[in-house]
Symmetry: C2
Subunit: 477 residues, 2 copies
């Protein structure tokens, strides 16, 4: 029995001659009561065809396959879907205007990090180290690429062939995908979303995978979606720094995102990530377009999340805000303190911030490129921030019962609050020292809290009197 939001897989036998990737097509129609979901299959080598499906409801499902290839056509079956297992909350969805929730309704705030090519190193020990680092980190999303950069010479590429000359972009490397999906599964078990970057502009003509024809782009997307969309922790990022790719226009990206939406039976979270400095809205993608689910933004000014939230009815994920480290690139030499501040600024403004790290002398290499081990100062502070938000009401950005006032680099001697005529609890949070110090007593009316050092936040919680089931008055904050 497959669990809800798990993966059910049909394996069929069919042709292995010619180029099955291009020549053979198979789909399955999965049905629950009177609802049909059509899912593409994919060729997995040796005459094997797989159709992967992630059911979103418990109960009896049935399927039938459809293919112009006789051997693959007309297979039927049924299966039972049981409850989600422990730790399986389903895929992340957009909730309301600018929040996320798991499909089971439980909370999800996004704490992303970036390991662009952690699955391309060819070093399994290193990949295990990355997974262990993620497991003990606060991060629950990783941005990661499928395609290589011009400088990489990985053992395996998404396509068959190991050099630019021999690369056959009409055939997929099955070991590559098998490995990639294992890693996506590993992330899923850790509760980490795989924010898959489908294209990026770092090829510069070397592999020829950033300027393919629309047909090849779709061919690639369709295979990726058929193989990977069933993993409930998959997000789609159609491109990193899309505007740095001079071979494609915004209209091209629109076409690809629309295509992606059409072939993805689950409508996984999907977005597109800008590269330019984006001082102005002109250089943000228009996230009103219905094929994006959230705003994936590169910008250093997290506090602007508030404006982006106002502008588009989509959650704001600042997937690149600068990286902690000391490399000689403008984007890669934030102190841990500055990285931490940007997380707090972003969360306080109702956005979600992404982390990255690149220290010159990290013996495991740059985290942003290949994962490994985190050595920076910010992850533990981001974990602390996460513990604070975890304790906050789920609508922490929009309720008067709870306020998080973040001062960051600003150092007021004190902060004045007008609390009205209900009792409040106030805590001074040192976001760098990771302490929470209650201001003794309960507070109402006009109230001044001494501050006077940097990296502080105030948490203000209204104490509500509630009558519980036993008619006792309880106070909750």
């Amino acid at each position: 029995m497959v669990e809800r939001w798990g993966v059910y897989e049909i394996v069929l036998t069919g042709p292995s001659s010619g180029n099955p990737f291009t020549d053979v097509e198979v789909q399955a129609i999965f049905s629950y009561r009177n609802r049909d979901v059509t899912v593409d299959g994919f060729y997995d080598g040796g005459g094997r065809y797989k159709i992967r499906f992630s059911p979103d409801q418990e109960g009896s499902w049935r399927y039938r396959t459809v293919s112009p290839t006789t051997e693959l056509n007309g297979h039927r079956g049924d299966f039972e879907v049981g409850p989600a297992g422990a730790g399986n909350h389903g895929p992340v969805r957009v909730f309301g205007r600018s929040l996320f929730r798991y499909a089971d309704g439980s909370r999800h705030e996004s704490y992303g990090t970036t390991c662009y090519h952690w699955t391309h190193t060819g070093d399994l020990d290193h990949e295990e180290l990355t997974l262990a680092s993620l497991a003990e980190s606060p991060f629950n999303k990783v941005r990661m690429c499928i395609l290589p950069t011009q400088d990489m010479r990985p053992d395996r590429l998404a396509f068959v062939g190991s050099t630019a000359e021999t690369l056959d972009r009409t055939r997929f490397n099955l070991e590559f995908f098998s490995h990639l999906e294992d890693r996506i599964g590993d992330l899923g078990r850790l509760g980490v979303e795989a924010d898959l970057i489908l294209f990026h502009p770092y090829d510069k003509g070397h592999w020829g995978v950033d300027n393919m024809s629309p047909e090849l782009d779709r061919f690639y997307l369709r295979y990726v979606v058929a193989r990977l969309a069933a993993f409930r922790n998959v997000w789609w990022s159609i491109s990193n720094e899309y505007d740095f790719n001079h071979a494609k226009t915004v209209a091209d990206w629109d076409d690809l995102l629309l295509y992606l939406q059409r072939i993805d039976p689950y409508r996984r979270l999907a977005s597109i990530h800008n590269g330019t400095r984006m001082y102005e809205y002109e250089s943000i993608y228009d996230f009103d377009k219905p094929w994006t689910t959230h705003q994936s933004i590169q910008h250093w000014d997290a506090a602007r999340a508030e404006d982006w939230r106002a502008r588009y009815p989509r959650p704001v994920v600042i997937d690149e805000i600068g990286y902690e480290g000391d490399v000689d690139r403008r984007w890669g030499n934030l102190t841990g303190r500055e990285m931490t501040r940007r997380f707090w600024h972003g969360m306080a403004a109702g956005g979600f911030v992404g982390h990255g790290e690149c220290y010159v002398d990290n013996p495991n290499g740059h985290w942003i490129s290949r994962g490994g081990r985190l050595i920076g100062d910010s992850p533990q502070r981001i974990a602390f921030l996460r513990s604070i938000i975890d304790e906050a009401p789920a609508d922490w950005t929009d309720t008067a019962d709870y306020r998080l006032i973040y001062f960051g680099e600003r150092v007021p001697a004190e902060h004045f609050l007008e609390l009205g005529d209900e009792d409040h609890l106030i805590d001074v949070i040192d976001t760098w020292q990771m302490t929470v110090e209650p201001v003794p007593g309960r507070h109402r009316g006009r109230c001044t809290v001494p501050l006077g050092r940097s990296d502080l936040a105030l948490r203000v919680r209204r104490v509500r009197r509630r009558t519980d089931a036993t008619n006792k008055v309880r106070e909750v904050a």
Copy 2:
């Protein structure tokens, strides 16, 4: 003999009955060879009318007065204008696209500060303290208001009357203006520009001076210009935070700026200062409009100066970028370090940044409101920055011979430079410790400079070989 860019004043006797401010008009036409300049006179009480003129050329000038009032009409005279005295470089003008110069061609980079109502305290000792503080500061411009805020109860207002009820907005308080022009003169002697804020939105209906009729606005402007425009250190800021004034539209401000340009014989520097957070260009005033000479911007992100420079052919003056201090307002609790960083970011991006200070426990009160004594950490660092820029070529933002690379809060372990095949001198500047440490030797080609702490800048100067008059080869950096 009056000096070039000095003030020549004609005093005439005329009517003192009725309301001479509204009833009497007098102008003088000043002529140099075949050039005429028409200048408004103003009533200065006791039947005295003055016409103030600042000649911009040495040599023989003549004048004749024009007035419908017989006693004031047809006066003629001539006078000689001599060379500018020591320290008199003339008014500041726009130079090229985004720089300033004094009228005599000497350099002027703007280092502004803010003392909104330093001339309204009624405390002359305090005003002298302010002047002394300015004299030893790096600042060469002060933003200052003419009109009071709702909360102030100054001894003297620009208009006659001391309460909101008795204020007569058709008569000017002569003591107020006499005092104000003394202070403008004091600033001029210190080499400090008086950036006069003509309107502001902080009246909230109390004095009734932020929502006057267009006629009263013009009446007020005309008097101010007639009295003060002759001071060569006057700049006009038509309004502070103009967009917070709900009684006026952008079209109203356009009208007033156009009017100002028309009545100001010298076309002093003129701009308008925004209040909104100005995330987007939409909320910047359109500085292409010909009646503005420079962009007067409120924004916290100094590095954007580069974009604003690109956008409008006007110098960028970030007149509000947050203030050093510890007050409980978002704009008023920067550390000295952060204030310093914003100055460096702005200058490195080719903009000019304004300072302000407001410490709760400054016994002399808030510098931004009433002047007094500076106690912050940034002024001495801004002086250090000024000393660096003073040594730079005048076109420091646009020459390949000189580069200032500022890292601010970023901490790269090292910085790579590609210097080409000419020798360069490199200095590591610690903008906080105020040290300049040369990287020994001369540098060309590929070069890596160790950094590794915050608040550093690199100065890179090309060494050019020149042949001097004696045919000796000299090297200059």
